[in-house]
């Protein structure tokens, strides 16, 4: 049994008019222990839904197909009871807005106690020690146990969430935009905490729209556009040898520190709503090199280099991003 998170052919569909529309379209992604995979995409690309699917938490009107395996356990189609045993324990998730993600009516300690004793048969004081250990690892002190969420700052709350995740000792952690709601300085510390966790053995799926975040901590990167993964591979590879026009466009439109003066080029057009997606390659109406063949059928998966794949008819060969590394 191999360890990690294995997403295969994941498709998430919603009812639309007479038929269905796929918000996430046949995604493949693998996260192994000790690595951080950054999943990059704009809002509306389907990345958060993908994360929810990995825990079986998609909304009831969403039809899920494909396979999501955590270590050996299948998530899709499994009963709620079995999923409850897996959630937190094997795969945990931290959410974007820490201010609303914790119950305001209970103390941090009480919430952690509930979660820890859900998965481990410990008594109160044993659970408390576990909680304290996890809090310390996340950079908080024991005093956090008796505090209510409204008494803590955003950064502290995010750490508390991470502590909750740590305490369950999962193999995989999904972090959905963990730093978006936080200050830049706090951001750096949270990211370095994630790095430490990965080094200690966790596999982390880091979801973000911010290329800079990915560049700081990820080992591998995957780029998502309108429900599909358009490019994935080793971080340096993807950044220095971006092969998909969208990835290139993203790089060119992102300001990066230390780059010196550079004109930011926006990608013309807007991200389509998944219900109005075009047939063929979803990006083709914004792509500078789209041709006839792009509008028909599925885009082929090409291997640009070892572990570096792109879904495009015309992958870009230039080393455009060399300046970014």
């Amino acid at each position: 049994m191999s360890s990690g998170l294995f997403i295969n052919n994941l498709t998430l569909e919603f009812a639309h008019g007479e038929g269905r529309a796929a918000a996430v379209n046949r995604c493949d992604l693998t996260i192994r222990p000790k690595e951080i995979v950054g999943l990059v995409g704009e809002s509306g690309s389907g990345k958060s839904l993908t994360a929810l699917a990995c825990l079986g938490l998609t909304p009831p009107n969403c039809r899920v197909s494909g396979s999501v395996r955590v270590d050996g356990d299948q998530i899709i189609g499994t009963s709620e009871a079995k999923l409850a045993a897996l959630r937190g324990r094997k795969i945990a998730m931290i959410f974007q807005n820490p201010m609303t993600a914790l119950n305001p009516y209970f103390t941090i300690g009480s919430q952690m106690d509930g979660v820890i004793r859900q998965h481990f048969s410990l008594n109160r004081s044993e659970a408390r020690s576990e909680a304290v250990a996890a809090l310390q690892q996340a950079g908080l002190t024991e005093s956090a146990l008796s505090r209510y969420p409204h008494q803590m700052s955003g950064g502290q709350l995010q750490r508390a969430m991470i502590a909750m995740a740590i305490a369950c000792k999962p193999d995989v952690l999904i972090a959905d935009e963990p730093t978006t709601a936080l200050d830049v300085t706090v951001q750096a510390r949270i990211l370095s905490l994630l790095r430490t966790l990965a080094d200690q053995g966790m596999g982390i799926l880091l979801i973000t729209h911010d290329l800079g975040v990915v560049a700081q901590v990820a080992d591998r990167a995957a780029v998502m556009y309108s429900g599909s993964i358009v490019e994935s591979g080793d971080l340096k590879q993807v950044f220095s040898a971006a092969a998909h026009p969208y990835t290139v466009g993203l790089m060119q439109s992102s300001p990066v520190m230390g780059m010196g003066r550079r004109k930011l080029l926006a990608i013309p057009g807007v991200v389509p709503d998944f219900r109005n997606r075009l047939a063929g390659c979803a990006f083709r109406d914004r792509c500078t090199q789209a041709q006839e063949v792009c509008s028909a059928g599925a885009t082929p998966r090409t291997s640009v280099a070892a572990g570096h794949e792109v879904h495009c008819h015309f992958p870009i060969g230039q080393a455009l991003g060399a300046q970014l590394t």
Partner: protein
Amino acid sequence: MLSYFSRRLAMMGLIVLGVATFTFVLSRALPSSPVEMMLGSKPSADQIQRAKEELGLDRPVVEQLGRYFFQLAQGRFGTSMRTGQPVIKEIGQRLSATAELVTLSLFLAVVLGLPLGILAAAKRNRWADHLTRVLAVSGVAVPVFFLGILLQMVFYGWLGWLPLQGRIDSNVMLDHPVPVATGFLLIDSLMDGNTAAFKSALTHLALPTITLLLASLATILRATRNLMIDVLATDYIRTARAYGANRRKTYFLLALKPTLVPLLTIIGLTYGFMLGGSVITEVLFDWPGIGAFVVESVVTNDFPAVLGVTLVISTLYLSINLIIDMLYFFLDPRISN
């Protein structure tokens, strides 16, 4: 927090004074003169004038008001012109009857409405939910007096299971008198081991309680359902699920407190409404409570009684609202810390 509390209390005192002034002015404007009532048949002009002087009714209104406040401060609510009894004594006797009815109704409304509301939230948009919605709208739409009459028709007229009116069978009261302890017949008769009185009190309580409880049940049910649905959709419940909270029980443990705290305001409001709604019920069921007392006093222009009872009821109503607000302080961590 203490300063907030004392400010609210002071405010409440001010409003009560306002209520007293308001009702006092109103009562002086009531159509028929209380003097005529007191003096009975065809009094002479002299008699009327003397009575007015005695009662102080010929003084300017402001002076009368001042005198009234002075009396109030001494705890004297005056004497009922209808019964000749001190108003405060009348109110005391009648209050416990209403309190028993209203407390029982509210208790049942919560005990039934809360679980049903949670059920409706859990089975959202399925037939159970729609049913509770219809029940909720019906509960509010049914006129209290019509519901009472329907119940009387069915349970007394047709089935003969329950008595028509009154608080207790007068024969039972004569043969098995109940010593007054709490003023609640149910409790007092139990404490006395008086099964005949208990049974009679219970059967007499049944119909008025059901009548009074329907509207509140409907409100509490629907409010619980809506609040619970909102809570279930929050981020923090999603987090709980993400960490393995599965069984509905855990949901309802984690989701219950966030639901109950705002629900408390609604329950408090309901208690207040019942104080008012009991008027109709008491008139219909000949229940010796303050609601009926209000109507009796108003109809006979018994203004000391009207003043007294209005003050008492309003103060109660305001106090309940204040208590609910205070409770929030203790229950919602975001406010108390």
